[in-house]
Structure formats: C-alpha cells, structure tokens
C-alpha cells in the first residue's frame, strides 16, 4: 500500500457512466415521490390512520348482532370553505349494537339561487376504529346535485363490526361537504388577496 501506483492515470470509470447512474437515481426518486401518493392511500386503507372510511361494504356473512355491548356513534357535519349549503345530521347520536345495520339521515339544503353540486368527504375518529366501520350505503359515494332552494335527506346505512376492539366505546363520524362547482383558482388574485387578509 505504501508504494504509489506507477501510472498517473487516475480514472478508469467514465464520467458518462457515473452521470448515467446518477440520472437514473434522480429519475427514480422523482418517480418515487409520485409513487408515494398511491402508496400512502394503500397504507391508509390497510391501517385506517387517516380516518377515511372505505367504499361500499359488501359482505356475504350472516349479520349477527352483538347483544352484549353497545357503541355510541356520533355524527358531525361541516361545510368546506365557501360552501353555503345547510348541512347537518338528522340524528346526532345513536347507540348501536355491533353487527346490526343502522340507517340514519343527513339533511342538506341549497339556499342559493343556483343549482350546485356537493360532495361529502368522511372522516372517522378515533382512526383505530376506521377499519371496523362499514358503510353499505352512503351519500358520500356519489356527488349530490341540488337545485336552487331544494333540500334532501341523504341516507347512510352502516354496520359497526363485531370485531371492534372492546376499548372503543364511541365513534365519531364527521362529514365535510365541499362545493364541486367552484374550483378555487389561485390565479384569481383579487380573491386570494382578500382571503389572506381576513386574519390580518
């Protein structure tokens, strides 16, 4: 090791090769950034950590009520930014036995003078309960159009899974209703300046 190599030529690898490998790494990591989007969704679906309840529940298993305990399910409603509709649960809270299908309604009214389309997005708390909350029918599966002044009662049919962990005695389901027609354009300078100054 102490003897220096006689050839002064330092490089055996070509620069092109190194650049090629690095560019492959760069492109791979750029793709990985986007791959995090579906990966995150899959991860949340498996673990339920972001409180998003799943799609339509279809089960062939015989429905069996768990008579030994009840779970309190609370319902919340809120409007997304700029959404003028009246939106509230008809039933605010209900005691259910795990395993039984339960139907409740949400009320929505469009008080404006034009037809609008709303989309409700669910979130369940605690997130640990997300995997045990099944919806067989939900207004959140579809967009809800309402004419000017029209109102509607929107059904939700759900089953709390029998396997819900014993220590969870209360589930809170929150819906946020978003206006689907007006996509807020950030390039709308006047609106943005106004919005950001609201708290200033």
């Amino acid at each position: 090791m102490t003897e220096a190599k006689p050839t002064p030529q330092p490089s055996r690898r070509s620069n092109g090769r190194v650049v090629g490998w690095c560019m492959a790494g760069v492109l791979g990591m750029f793709a990985f950034g986007f791959a995090m989007v579906p990966l995150y969704d899959v991860f949340c679906e498996i673990t339920g950590i972001n409180g998003k309840t799943g799609g339509r529940y279809e089960s062939t298993a015989v429905v069996e009520r768990d008579e030994h305990r009840t779970v309190k399910v609370q319902f919340l409603a809120q409007n997304g930014p700029g959404m003028p509709w009246t939106f509230r649960p008809v039933t605010r809270s209900i005691e259910v036995h795990p395993g039984e299908p339960v139907t409740i309604n949400y009320f929505a009214q469009n008080p404006t003078a034009q037809a609008m389309v709303g989309q409700a997005v669910p979130s369940l708390s605690p997130s640990e309960g997300t995997l045990y909350f099944h919806k067989t029918e939900c207004f959140c599966f579809n967009q809800q159009p309402l004419e000017a002044g029209e109102s509607v009662e929107m059904p939700l049919i759900f089953i709390v899974d029998k396997d819900l962990p014993e220590h969870i005695t209360k589930l809170t389901l929150s819906y946020t209703l978003y206006d689907q027609k007006v996509t807020p354009a950030v390039s709308d300078s006047a609106r943005v300046t106004k919005t950001t100054n609201d708290n200033g």
Binding site: M29, F30, V121, T176, Q180, T196
Partner: protein, 528 residues
C-alpha cells in the same frame, strides 16, 4: 497569464477590467465557479439576513409597529427559503468546488461545463423567487415548509413562480451533486483510496448522494402543488379525494435528509480544522466516516417526527421517536471524536479554530434540544413554538454557518494568497458568538412558555425575552458586515500567505502555492 490569476482573486464577479464579464459567464474553472458560488451565497446570506432583521424589528416589542402581518409572513417564508436554498447550500457547493479538486489532487471538477451551468441557474432561480415580493398578492407567505392547503388553495398568485424557482434551484443542486460524485469517484489522485480521502471529501460524497435522493422528491412535491393549483388535480385537496397530510409526508421525506445536507459538509470541514489547530491527527477517522454514513441512512426513516401532532398511530410515533433518538448515537461519536482530537493537543485559537470549537459546543446544544423535540409526548407541547425555532437555529447558525465561517477563514489564505486580519476575525467571532446566543437562547424559554412561531405579535409576558433576542439578532446581523470587510481586505492585500500557513494542517491543498494557481494538479500527485 499572471493576469488570470490576479483577476480571479477579485471579490466582485462583474467586470474584472482585464478580462470582462464573459470570463465569469463562460468560465469552467472550478476556482472561479467556487468563488462565484461563495459570493452568491454571501449575497443571499445578507438578503435573508435583512429579512430576519425585519422580523426581529417587528418582534422587538409586542404589538404591530413596523410591518403588516401579511408582509411579516412573507418575511418569515422568504427568510427561510433564501437561507436554506440560497445561502447555506450554495456556500457548501462553493467550498466543494474550490476544495474538492485541491484535496483529491484533481485538475478540475469532472464535468466543468455542467458546473458552470449549475451555478448560473441559481441567480435565475433567486431572481424569480425574490421578484415575487413585487407581485400582486405578495410573495409566498405560507412558511418555508409550504404546507398544503395553505400553499395551494390559499396561496398567493405568486406561488407558481415560487414553484418554478424551486424547480430551477433543484436542478442546480442535482447537477452540482452529480458533478461532486463524478469528481470524487473518477478523479482522485493515484493511491488515494476511499478510506484515505479527506473527511470533507467523504462528507460531501455522502451529501451528494443525499441530494440525488431527495431533491427529486422536492421537485415532485412542488410539481404536485403546481398541478393542484393550475391543472385541477387533487393531490392535497380533500374535496377531490386528496389528503393534505400526504403533503407533509412527501415534504418531510425530502426535508429531513435536507437538514443533514446542510450540516454534513460542515462536519467534514470541522474535522480538518480541529486537528490542524490541535496539532494532532483526527481521532477515529474510520468511525467518523461510518458515523456520517449512519446519519445519512437514518435520515430517511425519521421524517414523521416533524408531524407527531397531525395524528399518527402510537406504533408509528414510537418508531419515529426511537429512530430519531438513534441518530444521537453516530452524532455523539462525532462530537466525542472532535473532543478527543483536542484532548492533550497543542491548541491554538485562531479564528477557524474558534468557530470550530463554538461549532462543537453549540451544535451539541442544538442536538440536545432536538432530542427533547424527538420525545413524541413532549413534542405536543413544543410543536410550532419558539422552542422549535431555537432548536433549528442552534443547529443551523452555529452548525452550518459557523462551519462555513470556519472553512472560509481556514482556506482564505489558500484562495487569496494573503492572511486575513486575525484581530478583526476574532472580533467577528466574538460578536457573532455573543450575538447569536443572545438572539437564539431566549427563544428556548419563549417556546417552553408557549409563544407560537410565525406570528408578528405576542402576549405581553414574552416582551423581555423578545427584546433581548432582537438585540442579539441585530448584533449578529451587523457583525456579518465586518466579515465582508475582512474578506475584502484579505482579497486586496495583507501579509503574504505561505503554501501551508497553518503548521498543523494536512492535505494536498497545502502542497500548492498560495494563492492557488489558476490551474493545479495538471499532473496528479501521488498519495502514499
């Protein structure tokens, strides 16, 4: 040809009368490009620092005195972005450009034309970023972490310009990183095996791999923002089925390695300076290399410690808490090795050593507050308070920036051929040291008492500490003008520097004359 070497030492990159502007525009010389990077980063440091002065002036007293809250938010955002992407990162790339070829005995960087391009992209990127201050709706005001939906649904119209600026500086960083990797892998002098490389070279090699791994992820996340804002996608928009929390995951997957990108090269530089002024070889070279590698690897599995409060299952919180604490082990190895290097050394305290010793002590304080923040249950108390601000300024100012000052003083004689003014440099150190601690230490107390970050006004009980903090910040800020004066004075003249002005220094860079000739190591040196 002596004119070339002379003009290259000029401080201003415009109009060296001898050769004109095109010399700087078209140069492929690693020393020219290194100088340009360093000058650019110092200009950005002053600009970002001016913004910090605006912030501290507003916070000098409770109430709103000087700026509107809207403008205050723009200042905190731009200060963070400019310091991270404009000051610290380009300064390290500048040091890499200047020193890597000299340290490994290479004639230049491996890809000199790309080197020129990656530098000149930076002024373009920052011109775009700074121009947002003059646009309708103002500059970005959502914090340097630009969390969605604050930066998408509620961002100012200039957000799109901000995104393009990030894209361009990302391309610049990636090209710089590729250049560093190609240089280190291909151009080492014969006989310089990987485990004989100087530590600054090692830390930069690992930093370059980090850059290649995470800058594309940053580009990806701003691209998603761009699409959410302008093309109607819903990556981060809950109303369209997206999730704003996803933004935080993708951002911090970039963001945590990024903080090591900003500190690892400083680790490397300090690992040269402490042995030089202790007149002893570095204690535990191999363990230093492995520690840097371990820190870099761990940095990919700790990102969620920035987001404990957004709702993570308990198992996840525990994982990220323990993984974060694990980083203290290799970092502790490094601090131990630096102290062991100084132990029983023949110490002298010139400016580079002063900054390096302060680096070790103050960075360790920043590391400890980081450990406190890593404790998930405690983090709920500290999150988004001034304690966090104190923590990351303690790792970035006496960490990254003191590391850069130490490197600058250590290598200035090599760059300029003159010794800097030692008395002034030590004055600069003490003013910076006192100013920095006055500015940032009270922030720990403010944060623990509950003062939130990123606000222009605060409750009365925080007034005294804030005033102390502002006084310290003004002192720190003003003393950087002294640094500018010292460097200009050193470039213009001063005591002639020997090829090796520090008697304890080691490395190939000290085998070439001072100032380093325009072309060095045309024939590779041989390393025993």
């Amino acid at each position: 040809m002596s004119a070339v070497a002379d003009t290259h030492a000029q401080d201003h990159h415009h109009h060296g009368p001898a050769k004109g502007f095109s010399r700087w525009l078209l140069t492929t010389n690693h020393k020219d490009i290194g100088s340009m990077y360093l000058i650019f980063s110092f200009a950005m440091f002053l600009l970002g620092g001016t913004m910090a002065m605006v912030i501290r002036a507003e916070l000098f007293q409770p109430g709103l005195q000087i700026v509107e809250p809207e403008f205050f938010n723009q200042m905190t955002t731009m200060h963070g972005l400019i310091m991270v992407f404009g000051a610290v990162m380009p300064a390290f790339v500048g040091l890499a450009n200047w020193m890597l070829p000299l340290m490994i005995g290479a004639p230049d960087m491996a890809l000199p034309r790309m080197n020129n391009w990656s530098f000149w992209l930076l002024p373009c990127a920052f011109l775009i970023l700074v121009s947002t201050l003059f646009m309708s709706g103002g500059a970005p005001n959502f914090g340097w972490t630009f969390y969605a939906p604050l930066s998408t649904t509620y961002g100012p119209p200039s957000t799109t310009f901000f995104i393009f600026a990030i894209h361009i500086m990302g391309v610049s960083s990636i090209m710089g990183a590729i250049n560093v990797i190609a240089t280190i892998l291909n151009l080492r002098a014969p006989g310089m095996t990987l485990m004989k490389m100087p530590l600054f070279v090692w830390t930069w090699l690992i930093t370059a791999f980090l850059l290649i791994a995470v800058m594309p992820v940053l580009a990806g996340v701003v691209t998603m923002m761009l699409m959410d804002i302008n093309f109607g996608t819903s990556f981060f928009d809950a109303s369209g089925g997206g999730d704003p929390v996803l933004f935080q995951h993708v951002f911090w997957f970039f963001g945590h390695p990024e903080v090591y990108i900003m500190i690892l090269p400083a680790f490397g530089a300090v690992s040269h300076i402490i042995p030089a002024f202790s007149r002893k070889p570095l204690f535990g070279y191999a363990s230093m290399v492995y520690a840097v590698g371990a820190i870099a690897l761990l940095s990919f599995v700790v990102w969620a410690h920035h987001m404990f409060t957004v709702g993570i299952p308990i198992a996840g919180q525990l994982f990220f808490m323990y993984a974060t604490m694990l980083i203290a082990v290799p970092t502790g190895v490094k601090v131990f090795n630096w102290v062991a290097t100084m132990f029983r050394g023949a110490l002298s305290f010139e400016a580079p050593m002063l900054f390096s010793v302060a680096f070790v002590i103050l960075f360790t304080i920043g590391g400890f507050s980081g450990l406190m923040l890593a404790i998930a249950p405690a983090d709920f108390q500290y999150h988004d308070t001034y304690f966090v601000v104190a923590h990351f300024h303690y790792v970035l100012v006496p960490g990254a920036i003191f590391g850069i000052f130490a490197s600058a003083y250590y290598w200035l004689p090599k760059w300029t051929g003159h010794m800097y003014d030692e008395t002034l440099a030590q004055t600069h150190f003490w003013l910076s040291f006192v100013g920095m601690n006055l500015a940032f230490f009270p922030m720990h107390f403010l944060g623990l008492a509950g003062m939130p970050r990123r606000i222009p006004d605060y409750a009365l009980q925080f007034a005294d500490f804030n005033m102390v903090s502002s006084v310290g910040a003004f002192m720190f800020g003003a003393s950087q003008l002294l640094f500018l004066f010292i460097v200009v004075k050193c470039v213009k003249g001063g005591e002639k520097a020997a090829a090796k002005p520090w008697d304890g220094a080691e490395g190939l860079e000290w085998t070439v004359p001072s100032p380093a000739p325009y072309h060095t190591f045309a024939t590779p040196p041989e390393v025993k």
